[in-house]
């Protein structure tokens, strides 16, 4: 009793939302469901008519024959029409459900806390949004259609068959039941083996991917033969896994075929005997065979449903899990913000981490000032920027903007203070212009041009086939890392926010362009607060304050000149980098031959 209850609850969890969405299209469903029994009735009437006609061939008249034929034609018409309507409406409805479900999912995902995305794997989320939604749609559409038709055909057909011959009907059913049970015992093995086969091809795929990506290393170190041998092994493993799978599948096929053969034969023998005994007519024998033929499809559907439902249920639960994650609370004060920052003894540890990402960080920044953040990978630079955007909640009393604790500000209002460029810039598969104008609803051409100039993106435009209208990303032109960074920088400039957070945005830009960009930003920057995390120290020479971070702690602080005078890690790194850029600088023109 309790188990049934919890099962029901779980079904409601999995299918509650899709069913509610299906209700939006209830008229499609109602019409479709009305036509399902019509279709079944037409199907079930036909064997009887065929049988009667067969019998009338020996006794009846041509007039009778023709009348039956006309009736059959009418039935066939009704059947086709009913099938068309039910299929069209029900499957359409399921596609609507799919569409709505995906829309709702995306809207929901857009509101989840960033911390949730840190833990979630993209592959997992996309597979829930595609494969799992598809499985749920299967239940809402095809299953409804075929299941409904099974619900009509199976009992009615059985009843008709039982009306003709009880023992033969029961015997046929018995044989099918045995087959069904046999299949059920084999199915788990089939699943296990097909999973192994998929794993085997995944291994092939992974090696190929790595070898192609690392082809330089493979060639340089003369490892081609070793990789070929490794691939041959994986290839063989896949072959063996597949052959094993085929053996099982062929066996199952043979079982199905011989079972249905045996049933037909049994019916023919018993029926033939009864025909000879003159208890039934040949027509009736064929009528019975006709019913039997009608039963095979519903029986298949039944097996298919039993196999699919648990998977669809699991898929529904996985989707429900996404919906059950609480969205970020977007509430709080919305004062006019100017961008004065005060960070006070900030210590922050990521949930689940042992070591704090930031420890006792304190600094102040007036509006319009520039702050540089320096440190190795994992030193806490990005974390500090993320806390200012309130991607995570800092401890109360540690981060203030214009005197307000960020915890008291509405997150979306706080974010309107800063333009932000991520370490790995995010571009849409869209035009360059659309990517630059991402943050503004109505960016005019002139504003875009200015932003493009400030980010030194204009020097790349001639290389792109259609300039600003060139589509980038998937199905478009692939931009270099530096170009992507410049697009995201132009986007930040165009957003006209009072502050800017640049997370290592110039790492893939060559020194000459870097100088241009810095100049452009200086012009655009007037009055903007800027926080720049960078490995490239030349970017920070004009910063009002530079913080050197090491494992979350500030180890050196000051402006460029003070830090150079301190001759610490910053100074050492700065001189090393000037060396490197010297060796990469272009020789003066007069020195060229």
């Amino acid at each position: 009793m309790l188990r049934t209850l919890s099962w029901l609850r779980s079904v409601r969890r999995a299918f509650g939302r899709p069913l509610a969405l299906l209700r939006r299209h209830r008229w499609l469903v109602v019409i479709g469901c009305l036509f399902v029994p019509v279709h079944a009735a037409a199907m079930l009437w036909m064997p009887r008519l065929f049988g009667d006609t067969l019998d009338s061939l020996t006794t009846g008249s041509a007039v009778q024959l023709r009348a039956t034929c006309w009736l059959l034609l009418l039935l066939a018409g009704v059947e086709s029409a009913a099938r068309f309507v039910s299929r069209r409406t029900l499957i359409d409805a399921s596609r609507h459900v799919e569409q709505d479900l995906k829309d709702e999912l995306v809207l929901h995902l857009q509101r989840l806390p960033i911390a949730w995305f840190d833990r979630a794997r993209t592959g997992d989320v996309t597979s829930r949004m595609t494969q799992d939604v598809e499985l749920v749609r299967f239940v809402m559409g095809p299953l409804l259609l075929h299941g409904g038709s099974t619900l009509c055909l199976l009992p009615a057909g059985l009843w008709l068959m039982l009306g003709m011959d009880v023992p033969v009907t029961l015997a046929s059913l018995g044989v099918f039941a045995v087959l069904f049970l046999a299949m059920r015992t084999v199915l788990p093995r089939l699943h296990a083996w097909s999973k192994q086969s998929q794993e085997a091809i995944a291994a092939v795929s992974q090696q190929a991917q790595e070898d192609f990506a690392g082809i330089r290393v493979v060639m340089q170190f003369d490892r081609v033969d070793r990789e070929l041998a490794a691939m041959a092994t994986k290839n063989r493993r896949y072959l063996l896994a597949n052959l094993r799978l085929v053996r099982l599948r062929s066996l199952m096929n043979a079982m199905t075929h011989s079972t249905s053969g045996v049933v037909t034969l049994g019916v023919l023998l018993v029926g033939g005997y009864q025909v000879i005994e003159q208890r039934i007519t040949i027509g009736q024998l064929f009528q019975f065979l006709g019913y039997l033929g009608l039963m095979t499809f519903p029986l298949e559907i039944l097996g298919w449903t039993l196999a699919t439902l648990p998977r669809a249920h699991a898929a529904g639960v996985r989707i429900a899990e996404l919906f059950e994650v609480a969205p970020e609370a977007d509430a709080g004060a919305e004062p006019e913000l100017r961008g004065a920052l005060r960070v006070q003894g900030l210590t922050f540890t990521y949930p689940g981490a042992e070591r704090p990402a930031l420890a006792d960080v304190t600094f102040e920044l007036a509006p319009g000032q520039k702050l540089g953040l320096v440190g190795a990978v994992g030193s806490g630079k990005s974390t500090l920027l993320a806390l200012l955007l309130r991607y995570y909640d800092p401890p109360r009393g540690s981060v203030f903007v214009d005197g307000h604790d960020v915890l008291d500000l509405k997150p979306s209002a706080l974010r309107r203070l800063f333009a932000y460029t991520a370490q790995e810039p995010f571009l849409f598969s869209d035009t360059v212009a659309a990517n630059v104008g991402f943050a503004a609803d109505d960016a005019a051409g002139e504003a875009i041009d200015r932003a493009v100039g400030a980010a030194a993106l204009d020097q790349d435009l001639p290389q792109l086939r259609e300039g600003l209208a060139t589509i980038v990303g998937e199905r478009g032109v692939t931009l270099s890392g530096g170009q992507k960074q410049r697009v995201s920088l132009a986007r930040a400039v165009l957003s006209h926010r009072p502050g800017m957070l640049l997370d290592d945005t110039l790492s893939a830009v060559d020194p000459v362009t870097e100088r241009r960009i810095l100049q452009g930003l200086r012009n655009e920057r007037r009055g903007r607060t800027m926080l720049i995390a960078s490995h490239r120290l030349s970017v920070l020479t004009d910063a009002d304050l530079i913080l050197v971070l090491d494992r979350g702690r500030i180890t050196e602080r000051g402006d460029h000149h003070t830090l150079l005078a301190q001759a610490g890690a910053y100074a050492a790194a700065f001189w090393r980098q000037s060396e490197a850029s010297a060796l990469e600088s272009a020789p003066a023109p007069e020195a060229r031959p």
Partner: protein, 598 residues
């Protein structure tokens, strides 16, 4: 290749060339496939036998009311047993057929995959730079898989279907000429319907596939860009854009639903009408006494066998089309020239064993990518055994390209690269690449342990040698600190290691093979002083006693180099050692002065 995705859009069309090019792969298994065909023939015959027995049973024992009851029953039983025998034999043959096609087909697939992978692994670097790893991987996996469809569904199953259609038609004519004529006359209707449907459904499906691919790519994008979206408060705008794409896909899906609903209804109606027509004409013939009821049933059952294959022809074609497209892509790739090209006849590559020292010589070398502008021109220099040549110059000057010519990752367009006086093109490639080791700016990590990544899966290199190499470059310490030491599995993208650690591992990877020549693309400096010091030491010990070519990013490296080449726009502008170049007050001196702000 202007559009990197152009070959994804290939519309599969049959070409006789496919068969010719596939034949070498099929040939080794021709006996197996011949056996498959034989079994198909047998099963065809068996399938034809069933309705025949039924007809005999109906016209014989069932209707022969004159004969004795026991006699009729015994006869019926015999027919039943015959029927049973054909059923069981059919099932058995089906089983054997399934195994046999898989056994042979899957082996062909394996061979094609092996061959394709081998080919791709021996094409030039330029080819791999034009084609992404992901795309090539799809060719090796799914496209080869589609080829299986061509063999199993395409050739064998289609042959069987055609055989069935032909054979059944002959039988139909043999049973009753007029009825057969009527049946055959209706077939074109179904065929035309199928053809129409096929065209529309294909178009609709292609639209769905394209839109779905875009939508899924967009899904991945917005998940990856969630931080940017949040920063600019564009959540609703993103959701709206997704909804627009989603609506597009959904509409395309519903178009396919329409096609399918219409098609299934129409074709079923057409087939049913034919059956009813059969009943009409056949029934009249039986009433007239020109046709026996059993014959009529037989005819009917044969006709039923015909409708299946005819109906599926359209569907099969869809599968086949995908297979044809894959064929075209695969054979297209197999047409890519290999690198290096096979040596001219009579010019056997000369062996070049490791000898502990090597003299590298660039003699008037020029290089260009494809038909592009020259990347290197008139490059001439000598690296004497044990000396270090440092290369400096701006990004795009051709430094990295120059390095790739030493181990013959690319061939020069003009001039020669010589090792110990022999053109690298005349050397045994294995020997050459074993003598020249490469340290890249960033370490490419393979799935596997740290051990396997350092020795690159070469089991002949034992752990002691790996430890020795790690100790030499100063990486032993942090490797020992890993959870499982050398056996630690590296994580995706090597997230386990810092930038400095990765370069140290790259040095260890090169030193473990104890090369005669070291080719080094020095990493740019990082903020981390500790790893900086270790790296500097690693560079020093690695170069000691070896001939080395270094793209230098550190002053210490160039200062210690025996020769510095200043490269600009593919030409050597200046060369000499640090002191002499400074004295010249030329390009090199101005570069350094410019940097130190002096």
């Amino acid at each position: 290749m202007s559009d990197p995705y152009a070959d994804d859009l290939i519309e599969g069309r049959f070409q006789f060339g496919f068969l010719r090019r596939l034949w070498p792969f099929v040939r080794p298994y021709r006996r197996g496939f011949a056996a498959c065909l034989g079994i198909l023939l047998l099963s065809f015959a068996l399938e034809m036998l069933g309705p025949w027995l039924l007809r005999l049973a109906i016209d014989g024992p069932m209707r022969a009311t004159a004969a004795a009851r026991d006699e009729r029953l015994r006869e019926l039983l015999w027919y039943g047993l015959g029927f049973l025998a054909t059923m069981l034999a059919g099932a058995l043959l089906g089983y054997v057929y399934g195994l046999l096609t898989a056994w042979n087909g899957q082996r062909v697939i394996r061979d094609v995959r092996r061959h394709l992978f081998h080919h791709l692994m021996t094409t030039g670097l330029g080819f791999h730079e034009r084609n992404t790893a992901g795309k090539l991987t799809t060719r090796v996996t799914s496209d080869v898989e589609n080829l299986n469809e061509l063999i199993a569904t395409g050739v064998l199953q289609s042959l069987f279907d055609l055989m069935k259609i032909g054979g059944v038609t002959v039988l139909l004519f043999w049973i009753d000429l007029e009825l057969a004529l009527f049946t055959i006359a209706t077939l074109p209707v179904v065929l035309v319907l199928s053809a129409l449907f096929r065209r529309n459904a294909q178009r609709a499906y292609r639209a769905v596939r394209g839109k779905l691919a875009l939508q899924n790519a967009f899904t991945t994008e917005i998940l990856g860009g969630v931080r940017t979206t949040r920063a600019y408060g564009r959540e609703r705008a993103i959701a709206a854009r997704y909804a627009a794409r989603n609506a597009d896909t959904a509409a395309a899906w519903r178009a396919t639903v329409l096609h399918f609903s219409v098609f299934f209804s129409l074709v079923d109606f057409a087939l049913r009408s034919t059956t009813i027509g059969l009943l009409w004409f056949g029934g009249s013939a039986v009433l007239d006494g020109t046709l026996q009821p059993g014959q009529f049933v037989q005819f009917w059952l044969y006709y039923g066998m015909l409708s299946g294959p005819v109906r599926e022809l359209g569907e099969k074609y869809n599968v086949l089309q995908a297979a044809f497209a894959s064929c075209e892509r695969i054979f297209g790739l197999l047409g890519e020239p290999r690198f290096p090209p096979p040596p001219a006849p009579g010019r056997a590559p000369s062996p070049s064993p490791r000898r502990g020292r090597a003299r590298v010589e660039f003699d008037d070398v020029a290089f260009a990518y494809g038909d592009g502008p020259p990347v290197l021109q008139g490059v001439r220099f000598v690296a004497e055994p044990g000396s270090t040549v440092a290369i400096v110059g701006p990004t795009g000057a051709g430094k990295t390209t120059l390095l790739s010519l030493v181990a013959r990752l690319r061939d020069t367009v003009a001039g020669q690269v010589r090792i110990d006086g022999v053109d690298v093109r005349d050397l045994d490639l294995h020997d050459l690449r074993r003598r020249v080791a490469f340290v890249a700016q960033d370490l490419f990590l393979f799935t596997g342990s740290v051990l396997d990544n350092v020795r690159l899966f070469d089991a002949r290199v034992d752990e002691d040698r790996v430890w020795q190499a790690l100790a030499t470059v100063g990486a032993a310490e942090f490797v020992r600190a890993l959870p499982q030491g050398l056996a630690t599995e590296v994580q995706e993208r090597g997230g386990t290691f810092s930038q400095g650690e990765r370069q140290l591992l790259a040095f260890a990877r090169a030193l473990v093979v104890d090369p005669d020549v070291l080719v080094l693309d020095e990493a740019t400096a990082s903020i981390d002083s500790a790893s900086e010091a270790r790296l500097q030491r690693a560079v020093e010990v690695s170069l000691r006693g070896r001939t080395a070519l270094v793209v230098a990013h550190r002053l210490s490296t160039v200062r210690n180099a025996d020769c510095i080449l200043v490269l600009d726009h593919g030409r050597i502008v200046e060369s000499g050692d640090h002191q002499s170049l400074l004295r010249r007050r030329g390009a090199y001196a101005s570069m350094l002065a410019h940097a130190t702000g002096a």
